[in-house]
């Protein structure tokens, strides 16, 4: 902790943060643009494909927030693994409940 930053690393870190910020901003503009373009131009078409792109874009933003802002990218590999591996449980929860949700829809149709 007392190992204070030298100037070179400092500038590198600051630059990395602003780079991440710009990427996140661009991706957000892209997402909002997709959502609005569907609303204004393709209203009567299904939104599924656009949704997939928006989910991917959000995952990308999440990656930059976790990796750069929360600095996880620079921690030990084992630490990254121990924190991200449990997320597979969430993936399974999401898959299972999505299957159930659509199944409930089928039941009422």
């Amino acid at each position: 902790m007392s190992s204070h930053l030298d100037d070179a690393t400092y500038h590198k870190q600051v630059a990395a943060i602003w780079r991440a910020t710009i990427i996140i901003a661009v991706v957000t503009v892209f997402e909002v643009g997709l959502a609005l373009s569907h609303y204004f131009f393709f209203y009567h078409h299904p939104k599924a494909i656009i949704n997939v792109f928006m989910v991917l874009a959000t995952l990308m933003k999440a990656f930059y927030i976790i990796a750069e802002f929360m600095h996880l990218k620079y921690e030990y590999r084992s630490f990254i693994i121990i924190l991200t591996l449990p997320l597979i449980f969430l993936v399974w929860l999401i898959i299972a409940l999505s299957v159930e949700g659509t199944f409930w829809l089928r039941l009422i149709q």
């Binding site: 007392s2 400092y10 609005l36 949704n51 928006m54 927030i65 921690e75 449990p86 449980f89 409930w104």
Partner: protein, 251 residues
């Protein structure tokens, strides 16, 4: 040894100055201090809480044939009465929150340089962002509530073409509508409310960190780890918002 067996001597109270983070001993496997480890694991568990909420909302929404279009519902703008700006306010809110997160990262970096003024400056900006976000959210909530949206009633109904119409407008235009799912309001207020609660706690945490920075507490301590820990929490709030933004406003 005899002394060791004397219960009284041994049970004497020892005040531990701070936990013995690998006192004399093994490196932590990750070179992350125990405080940050704790924060990380807390955030991991909180990620499970939010996923629980979001997937509950998701499953309910997937089981519906129709759901109100966010572009219609979230089109109000402060100071622009009667003008429809789809996703306008929420885009501003997102920008504010992300920027606020960036400011706090900057504070953390300045902390590594032991730059007290820099930490205070960026933290202050971060807090400002948090407060602004909460202000926008309060406006949005009161706007929806004013329109008649409640946790158990949804004023946005389905028009004949599947379009989203506010009930009052439909009645005026005599458009036949079918009622919208009431769970729209419930999940929206529930989840954005829970997120807003997190933002509020984060703002309080950052204010505490700011005061202690200005007091020089961290400077004397020789490190700004507390800012870093609170910062982790603040970025997490941002992270959750990215998903709330996706699932409530974009999709």
């Amino acid at each position: 040894m005899a002394e060791l067996l004397d219960e009284n001597v041994i049970s004497e109270h020892i005040t531990l100055p701070a936990p013995n983070n690998n006192e004399g001993g093994e490196d932590t496997p990750f070179k992350v201090s125990y405080g940050k480890t704790m924060m990380w694991f807390f955030l991991l568990s909180d990620a499970f809480t939010f996923t629980g909420f979001l997937i509950a909302y998701g499953a309910i929404r997937m089981s519906k044939t129709w759901w109100p279009d966010p572009n219609v519902v979230f089109a109000g703008m402060p100071f622009l009465h009667g003008v429809n700006v789809p996703l306008g306010l929420v885009s501003i809110m997102t920008t504010i929150l992300i920027l606020s997160s960036v400011f706090v990262v900057r504070a953390v970096i300045e902390g590594h340089r032991m730059n007290q003024k820099g930490v205070a400056f960026w933290l202050f900006l971060g807090i400002l962002g948090g407060v602004a976000f909460l202000g926008c959210q309060a406006w949005e909530w009161s706007h929806l509530i004013h329109d008649g949206m409640t946790p158990f009633y949804n004023v946005y109904h389905a028009g004949p073409e599947g379009e989203t119409i506010k009930l009052a407008l439909a009645e005026k235009a005599k458009t036949p509508v079918s009622p919208g799912p009431p769970m729209f309001g419930g999940s929206f207020f529930g989840i954005t409310g829970f997120h807003g609660l997190h933002v509020s706690i984060g703002v309080v945490m950052n204010i505490v960190a700011l005061i202690k920075t200005l007091n020089g507490t961290y400077q004397r301590r020789g490190h700004y780890e507390m800012v870093e820990k609170f910062g982790l929490y603040w970025h997490f709030v941002d992270l959750v918002w990215v998903f709330v933004f996706l699932f409530f406003y974009l999709i």
